[in-house]
């Protein structure tokens, strides 16, 4: 009986912990002097808590309007549901803590923006797009 209860609890925990398979790359503008980033730092960037790169340049995060990749990114990196993430940012904006996140409609727009914007950081999927003129960084 105890084993059964433990199994059910573990199953529930596993069920709620499953994330969709992630296939995204984190890209930064070439001015950004890093090759990798800790997930916790990336999370802070997309929550508006880390706003400066090590060389004191402003960080410009950009998110993508396409639901699939955005949902995977915020669940895996920020550890929030898309709805929690949106509410978090609305709270930041409407209480005067930050300005809205830059949001672009698709991956190509994100790529183009990161290419031309100093300090920019974004994410795009590993497929469907030819990545060039930006730096791809790994997430530790």
């Amino acid at each position: 009986m105890v084993k059964k209860i433990v199994f059910i609890i573990l199953f529930i925990i596993m069920f709620f912990s499953i994330c969709p398979a992630s296939e995204f790359k984190v890209i930064v503008n070439r001015s950004v002097a890093i090759d990798s980033i800790k997930r916790s730092d990336l999370k802070k960037i997309f929550l508006g808590k880390k706003t400066l790169w090590e060389n004191d340049d402003s960080i410009v995060p950009v998110i993508i309007g396409e639901k699939d990749i955005h949902n995977v990114f915020v669940r895996k990196i920020v550890k929030k549901t898309p709805s929690q993430f949106a509410t978090y940012w609305k709270r930041m904006v409407f209480t005067g803590r930050a300005k809205s996140l830059k949001t672009l409609k698709d991956e190509q727009a994100v790529l183009n923006y990161v290419i031309v914007t100093k300090g920019a950081v974004g994410y795009i999927s590993k497929k469907n797009i030819h990545i060039q003129n930006v730096k791809i960084i790994s997430v530790r």
């Binding site: 709620f16 912990s17 916790s40 802070k44 808590k49 880390k50 706003t51 400066l52 402003s58 998110i63 309007g65 550890k79 929030k80 549901t81 898309p82 709805s83 929690q84 949106a86 509410t87 940012w89 609305k90 709270r91 904006v93 409407f94 209480t95 005067g96 803590r97 930050a98 300005k99 809205s100 996140l101 830059k102 949001t103 914007t117």
Partner: protein, 463 residues
């Protein structure tokens, strides 16, 4: 009012079919505009909370628009808003916040202007409906009568984010002036509390004075007879701005990134001057004077002189996938003197004993929210509020002739939130309430019922 509500709903429905970005309108790379518009409805089965909910009320709305402009580490922003909450707000435009913000480092920024007070998790966004699942925030911590003193401050502060081996800390220290303003629920609450004191005041002095002046035996005065509304003229009440420093610290511990713990405190020093006119009759024991009563009239003012009051809020929040569990606890002490002027021919030196008050207030809630799908979220919270922690059962109030259930307010509140899209949402909520500690006598002239239900619905459009 109904016409205005209809217009609001039509606007909401109109925008329902328009795709507008979730994160505000970005006019330029460094200039964004965001806004919200809410219209609600409240109905109680008994009692009135903010005005006249027993008959149903659409006087429950909020509007706001803000802009943010940033250049490198400097950000300028402002939000203009209006609200109507029963008898309060009346949709008058006000500057909700306006400030300049400069971030030297992630661990040090400075913010100057009119800023929101970071008291508890939700105080800064208490007027913005879409930032939460419940329609009404738990009133035990986010008491509407304290909104006037804890909503915002005009001044400056520093803030930042520090990461250490213990985890991540967010802090904010500020000092400023709280522009309490008159005609708010804070003022109304002071008047309501004072009315009991005025009763005591008149009873003590009328007894002493009348018995002496009319050469009556001690104990001849049996009571007072007056209309409370004739005592206070709300238009003449003066509410002073109050100095308000404060600190807020959040801790995201290293061992659990889904956990957030916080403590925040605000000190505030409010003074209110209330003109009083007593016009009534002193009731005398049978047979001592013709008609068994003596008419009496006097005027003066009472200064509600509070010592700096420190409110502490302890907060905790835990995220578990689609679940969010939140709990907060508030404690503060009201410590004030009543200073009387005028009231000829009373001898004011005799009222020392009823001029000082010290009351410790407590409140707490636990809340669970579950995101069922992109469209539906459900939440429930339980809250308790005690305006005097030494009288949780109302025994002291009963001795003063006041109903015991004014000593507490306990609520169970289930909510359903429906997000039709990123810009439009609807909430439905019911409050099952036991106790009446946060109700005003003035709104309930026919008496107050111990057990009551509040139904609310609110529709919000935001971009």
């Amino acid at each position: 009012m109904v016409k205005k509500s209809k217009i609001t709903i039509i606007f909401c429905l109109y925008f329902c079919f328009i795709c507008i970005p979730c994160y505000g309108i970005q006019l330029m790379d460094n200039f964004t505009v965001s806004g919200f518009l809410s219209q609600g409805y409240m109905k109680t089965d008994k009692n009135n909370w903010f005005g006249n909910e027993e008959k149903g009320s659409f006087n429950f709305d909020e509007y706001g628009i803000n802009f943010n402009f940033s250049v490198d580490k400097l950000r300028l922003g402002a939000q203009v808003a209006a609200r109507d909450m029963g008898e309060f707000g009346d949709n008058e435009l006000f500057l909700d916040w306006v400030h300049g913000d400069y971030k030297f480092k992630d661990y040090l920024g400075i913010r100057v202007g009119k800023c929101k007070v970071p008291l508890g998790f939700y105080n800064g966004g208490r007027d913005v409906d879409m930032l939460r699942v419940p329609v009404l925030l738990p009133s035990c911590v986010y008491d509407e009568s304290r909104r006037d003193i804890s909503n915002s401050y005009r001044g400056g502060g520093i803030y930042g984010n520090i990461t250490s081996f213990l985890g991540e800390f967010e802090y904010e220290l500020w000092y400023g002036i709280s522009e309490i303003g008159s005609a708010g629920m804070y003022e109304k609450g002071v008047i309501d509390a004072m009315s009991f004191n005025i009763n005591s005041f008149m009873a003590v002095f009328a007894s002493a004075f009348i018995e002496n002046a009319y050469d009556l035996p001690q104990g001849s005065v049996t009571g007072m007879n007056y209309n409370r509304n004739s005592i206070v003229n709300p238009e003449d009440i003066e509410v002073a701005n109050a100095a308000t420093p404060g600190i807020s610290v959040l801790w995201m511990p290293f061992f659990c990134e889904d956990l957030k713990l916080g403590v925040s405190t605000q000190s505030v020093d409010p003074d209110v001057v209330i003109p009083v006119e007593f016009d009534g009759d002193v009731l005398i024991a049978s047979g001592l004077v013709p008609g068994d009563q003596i008419p009496f009239n006097t005027t003066g003012s009472i200064l509600f002189n509070a010592k700096p009051e420190y409110a502490f809020v302890f907060s905790g929040e835990y995220f578990f996938n689609e679940w969010v569990f939140t709990s907060e606890y508030i404690m503060y002490k009201l410590d004030y003197n009543l200073i009387y002027e005028g009231f000829s021919p009373f001898d004011l030196s005799e009222i020392e004993a009823i001029s000082k008050f010290k009351i410790s207030v407590r409140g707490w809630y636990v809340q669970a929210v579950y995101e069922i799908s992109d469209m539906f979220s459900a939440g429930i919270y339980y809250s308790e509020f005690y305006p005097d922690r030494t009288d949780k059962k109302g025994d002291k109030l009963k001795q003063r002739g006041i109903e015991a259930h004014r000593a507490w307010q306990k609520e169970i509140v289930p909510t359903l939130r429906i997000d039709f899209n990123k810009n439009l949402l609807l909430k439905l909520e019911t409050h099952f309430i036991n106790g009446t500690a946060q109700l005003l006598t003035d709104f309930n002239p026919d008496g107050i019922s111990k057990n009551w239900i509040l139904y609310t619905a609110k529709m919000t459009f935001n971009f």
